[in-house]
Subunit: 109 residues, 2 copies
Amino acid sequence: MERGKQKRLEARGWRVGSVGTFLKLSPEEVALVEMKVNLSQSLRARREARGLSQLALAKQLRSSQSRVAKMEAADRTVSIDLLIRGLVILGAKPRDIARALGRETGAAA
Amino acid sequence: MERGKQKRLEARGWRVGSVGTFLKLSPEEVALVEMKVNLSQSLRARREARGLSQLALAKQLRSSQSRVAKMEAADRTVSIDLLIRGLVILGAKPRDIARALGRETGAAA
DNA sequence: TGCAGGCATGTCATTCTTGACATATAGTAT
DNA sequence: ATACTATATGTCAAGAATGACATGCCTGCA
């Protein structure tokens, strides 16, 4: 596993010595979580690239600053739908979203 | 717009002479709908490639045959999350999902 | 020091999504 | 015709996601 991602996951309470191995996370669930983390990072990167605050983005999304924070934290209460909506509002095209989703994460055996 | 997709959209009530142009669909909404359609097609293709019935897939998903039908129809009551979960269960890797999402659709001016 | 802006996190009522069920249609075989 | 299988579509109670709000933590700055 790529080191930066490991720290980010750990920071949110995921045990990473062996991502899902450690606490009963099926491979499917792991894949979903990693996709969410990738999308959330892409969201933050795009927002910052535009010099927007979370509040400013929230307004465009008709949401709230707190939810944007959760989106960027890949909180378990945010759906992939919402993350994708956020990215689209930040100008991401399906192709960009695809790139974010599929980021090579390196397979930890 | 690619012809096959146009017919599929029309079949579910979308006016396509100008996708979102015709009835107040923002560009963002159009992008979202197209991504959903792409995912749903990929889902059906994968399911059929494995020779599974909708019912068989539904069981793996712990869902119902009717919901799988709606997923494949890109029904507005199915979330992107659910579509992605379905694809993952059918063995799609993030990379595969990314490819499905970003399928070139051809820009109708 | 106090104050403001940006971000994180918990809670909660409202809204949306989901699985389950009923029912319909079409194809195939007996 | 009857029966069976696969798929499509509507409805709805239960559960999940959402937006809004409160509040706390920093950092910078007057």
